[in-house]
Each structure stands twice: as C-alpha cells, then as structure tokens.
C-alpha cells in the first residue's frame, strides 16, 4: 500500500494551546497521481491537517513522509515536493503576477526559469495579466495566482484548501477542469472541501474527517454507494391524512401537511424501486403535479455515518 504512496501520514496529532484537539492520530496514505478529497464540515480539522504537513503548524505527535522524506528531519526535500494553496486569498497587493510567481519559485530553492513560469501562467489563463499588480485582479484571478505560486516550483503534491469556497459556479467549473489537467501532468492533488459535489466530481478517493478524526477513507464510487442517500418527493394535489397501507413497503413519510410524499432510499438498491413505487401511487389514484429527487447533503451523510458508528 505504502509502496506507491507519495504521502504517508502516521499518527499525526495536533493539540492547540487552547486545548483544542484538532487532529487525533490521523493515519493516511495518498497514492501517487490521484486526486484525494478530504471532506468535512467547517472546523473538522482539514486545514490543520494540511498545515501540519506543510510546516505551518507544529504537530504534537506523529510522522509524515513525502516521497520517502520525513517532513521534519528532512524538511527541505519534503517541502520542495509540496505546493500549497491556502483557503484564504493571501497575496501581495503591489507585486506583479509574474514577480510573485517567480518569487515563489525562488523561495523553494529553484533557479529562475521564465519558461516554466510562462507555462504555468498560460495554463491558468493568467499570461495576459502577467504584468498587472495583484490588487487589480478579480477574486477568481487572485485564486489562480495562488495556484500559480504553488505550482512555480514544480511540486509533486499539490494541496488545495477549499479551492472553490466562495467562488461562482463558472469559476468552480474552470478550476475543476484545471485540477483535472494537473492530474494529467502527474501531480497528486489533495483538496479539502465541504461541497459533496466537488468531491464527487473530482476525486478518486474520499476521506471523511470530523472533529479531528479521519472517520473513513474509501474509493469515491463505493463511498457514495454506501453512504449517499437520496429522496424522492411527490407533490400531491390532494393532501393525505396518512400513508396508504399499500405503500408500506417503501416506508414513505408525509410532509407539509400531507401534501408531500417523501421516499428516502440509499443508493445501493433504492433506485430500482422507484418505478414500482410510482406505479403503485398511480394505481392508488393519487395525483401529483411535481416530483423531484435530491441527494443527501454532506451533513446528512455525517449524521448518518456518525449515528451508524455509535450504534455499532
């Protein structure tokens, strides 16, 4: 398993001065070339985990090895392989785009390489803005400048901390395309997000972190199948007082004063039963003017998952 791991984390813990246990003995292997999504609500420990790996937060215990290099004993080798794009837009206001990206490359110990900087800026559609001061750029461009800075030293592993938080839909799509392109060039990408569709769209594997604990790590498709829940909602023309006995097999519930019939199911086998349910509803003569299906939110998954764990 750890043979092809580009990043290997063992027992990583962080307790802040305030007593907050932000990370509880996290173990994780990241495979070379994959896109890994770390999912969790705000305050789950996602940023602390990234910061502890990158040297911004001092871990209380544990080891991290980057491509075989210990992140503390051999920090130069380890850090040179990592690029970090933090969540907040931390940029110099008065530097030009090209200067700030070249600066990042130098910081990481590499000689100037205008060709590479040009390539990075072109890939991120920033080349036209190369001589603009950063303060003149839009929020979306600033975020791309942050990504360019992180790529300036040709890292093997790129951390994207909430890359699309507060970003409009169009830019989110663009960023997703660019992340895919990075993978195509062999960069391992680890992103944190609290948008489930982002993880779904991009990731090969997903880890769920909650209150500093890595609850599980799994292949995306399996995880969504196992944990994702959906619901079918029928808007009835005539309200019902109670669920008809004929529908008991689906155990639906009535909401909105009996005007909405809601069937909740998991992704494994529930879908197949939808046509049957609709046929039964039809046979009962229940009229509906609208129906929709929706997926459970990450919050729902958490609640389910945590409840499942404590029940087991």
């Amino acid at each position: 398993m750890s043979g092809d791991a580009v990043l290997s984390i063992r027992g990583l813990s962080k307790r802040y001065g305030s007593g907050l246990e932000a990370l509880k003995a996290v173990d994780l292997d990241i495979h070379r070339g994959e896109i890994f999504a770390l999912l969790g609500p705000n305050g789950a420990g996602k940023t602390t985990l990234i910061s502890a790996i990158c040297g911004i937060v001092q871990p209380t215990a544990g080891r991290v090895s980057v491509d075989g290099h210990d992140h503390q004993r051999d920090y130069r080798q380890a850090r040179q392989r990592i690029g970090l794009v933090p969540q907040e837009l931390h940029t110099e206001a008065f530097e030009t785009v090209r200067a700030t990206v070249s600066f990042s490359r130098g910081l990481f110990g590499l000689p100037a390489n205008p060709g590479h900087i040009e390539q990075v800026l072109r890939d991120l559609s920033l080349w036209d803005k190369r001589d603009s001061q950063i303060r003149e750029l839009s929020g979306g461009m600033k975020r791309r400048v942050m990504i360019a800075k992180a790529l300036a030293h040709e890292p093997q592993v790129l951390f994207l901390d909430e890359p699309t938080a507060g970003v409009d839909v169009e830019l989110r799509r663009t960023l997703w395309t660019q992340v895919e392109a990075l993978r195509g060039r062999g960069v391992t990408v680890i992103l944190t997000t609290h948008y489930i569709e982002e993880a779904q769209e991009l990731a090969d594997r997903i880890g769920i972190i909650h209150r500093g604990e890595l609850l599980l790590v799994d292949d995306k498709h399996r995880l969504m199948r196992e944990l994702g829940r959906r619901q079918l909602r029928l808007h009835l023309l005539e309200p019902l007082a109670e669920v008809p006995a004929e529908l008991a097999d689906w155990a639906p519930s009535l909401e909105a004063q009996g005007t909405e019939l809601v069937y909740r199911f998991d992704q494994r086998d529930g879908e197949r039963r939808i046509p049957e349910l609709l046929a039964r509803v039809h046979a009962l003569g229940l009229d509906y003017n609208d129906l929709n299906t929706s997926e459970s939110s990450l919050e729902d998954i958490f609640v389910d998952f945590v409840a499942q764990r404590s029940g087991a």
Binding site: G17, Q77, H90, S104, L107
Partner: protein
C-alpha cells in the same frame, strides 16, 4: 540542497523591491529630517556654540544623527518586513518553503541592514554638504555602520515577530530608542552634563553605541572604543540569541 541560496535571494530582492516602491518614505523622508537637524542644530545654533572636543559642533553631531536614523529606520524597516506577511497572511509561503530559520533571518535582516547602510551613507553625504568632515578611521567607520545596521535590523525583526498590531510596531523605535538616543549623546558630549547626570547617562546602553561611531570619525568618544565595540558586539550577540530562541520555540510564528 544544504543552503537555500535562491530562497534567501528571493526574500532579499523582494524586500529591496518593496523599499524601492516606497522610496519616498524610506529614503527621502529620513534625509529631509536629517537636513532639518543640520539646518537647525548645525547652522543656526551650531555657529553660536563652542567646538566639542576640538570638533566644530555642526560636524560633531553628524555621527549621532546617522546613528539616530540608522537605529530607528533599521527597527521600523526590519520589523515591518516580517510583521506584514503575518498581518496579510502571506507568511504561509515562507513557513511552508524549504527554508531554515537562519535563511529566513538572512533574507529579511540582510535586506533591512542593506537599506540602513545605504541610508547611513546618504545621510553622511548630506552632512558633508553642510559641514566639513574628516573621518579618522574610515574602515572602522564602515564596519561599525554595518555592525549597527545588522544589530538593529535584528532587533527590528524580533519586534516584528513580537508585535500584535501596528501600534506595537512603532512602540520601541518611537518610545524607547529615540529618547535613549537623544539622551545618549547624539547631540552633545556627556562631559557637558553635570556629574550626577553623567553617571546616570552611563546606564544608557545607546551612549556606548553612539560613542563608538563618533570615535571612528574623530578619534575620541565618551567612552573608549574597545568598550563601545564590546557593547556593540554584545548587542549583536543578544539579538542573535533571541532570534535563535524564537525559532527554536516557534514563538508566535507557528502554532
């Protein structure tokens, strides 16, 4: 990679570029202030004053003026250089880069000290426009200027890490170093003070630092040059030890 020279150079050139962008505040303002001192103390008052230790008063104040500007500018320049990335958040990049603490200090303090030396030389040139200057020990003068620039840039770096807001950033240069410099013989020889004040003044460490620089100009000072140089080196040593402790404990830089 045993020494990240590209990293040190990146920080150094970044800091120098920041200085060039604000050349007006960084260079023109201190030079203007110093010129005012020359006009007021040197030309207007100096002509009515006797010479001090055989040196005309206008020339006598030149080393003290250079030191005053060097102290305050080194402190504010170096402190701002490391404070601002923490304030704006861009420090994340420095902390995540393959840089040792020594390299970070070299980049920031090296740049701040360079600016201070340039500033010191510009003020010296400004002084030469007003009074006749004969420097007795030019090599010592240059070395001492560099030593003071390094030492106070190092203290500035420490202030920049310690400060929680912009007011605290200004606190030490404005309320500690400037008064101590004024009272430390920048504009007078302590021989001119009543005996009780002379003794009190000797408790002010700045006296020894300014006296040393004046010695490199005129071959005499309030205290012997060896004592001054010893104090200067001790100050540098304290600064280095302090910075070493900061990085060893991660004080305020890392959680």
């Amino acid at each position: 990679m045993s020494f990240n020279r590209h990293g040190v150079w990146a920080i150094y050139t970044f800091e120098m570029a920041r200085w060039r962008r604000t050349l007006w505040q960084s260079l023109v303002a201190p030079v203007l202030t110093t010129t005012l001192y020359f006009v007021v103390f040197g030309a207007a008052i100096g002509e009515r004053m006797d010479s001090v230790d055989g040196v005309p008063y206008g020339a006598f104040i030149v080393p003290g003026l250079i030191m005053l500007t060097l102290f305050t500018q080194s402190l504010s320049n170096a402190s701002f250089g490391i404070y601002f990335p923490q304030f704006s958040g861009t420090i994340y990049e420095i902390l995540s880069a393959p840089l040792s603490s020594l390299e970070i200090v070299l980049g920031y303090v090296g740049a701040a000290a360079t600016k201070s030396v340039i500033l010191g030389l510009v003020i010296l040139a400004t002084g030469a426009c007003f009074v006749e200057l004969n420097i007795a020990h030019p090599v010592w003068m240059a070395a001492y200027l560099l030593l003071m620039a390094l030492t106070f840039s190092l203290f500035g770096f420490i202030i920049g890490i310690w400060a929680r807001n912009f007011e605290q950033l200004q606190f030490v240069p404005m309320l500690v170093v400037t008064p101590l410099t004024f009272l430390g013989g920048a504009f007078y020889s302590i021989d001119m003070l009543p005996p009780a004040w002379q003794t009190a003044t000797l408790a002010n460490p700045i006296v020894y630092l300014i006296s040393g620089f004046r010695w490199t100009f005129y071959g005499s000072g309030d205290v012997g040059f060896a004592l001054s140089l010893g104090c200067a080196l001790a100050a540098l040593g304290i600064g280095l030890a302090w910075v070493w402790w900061i990085f060893r404990t991660g004080y305020r830089l890392k959680q």
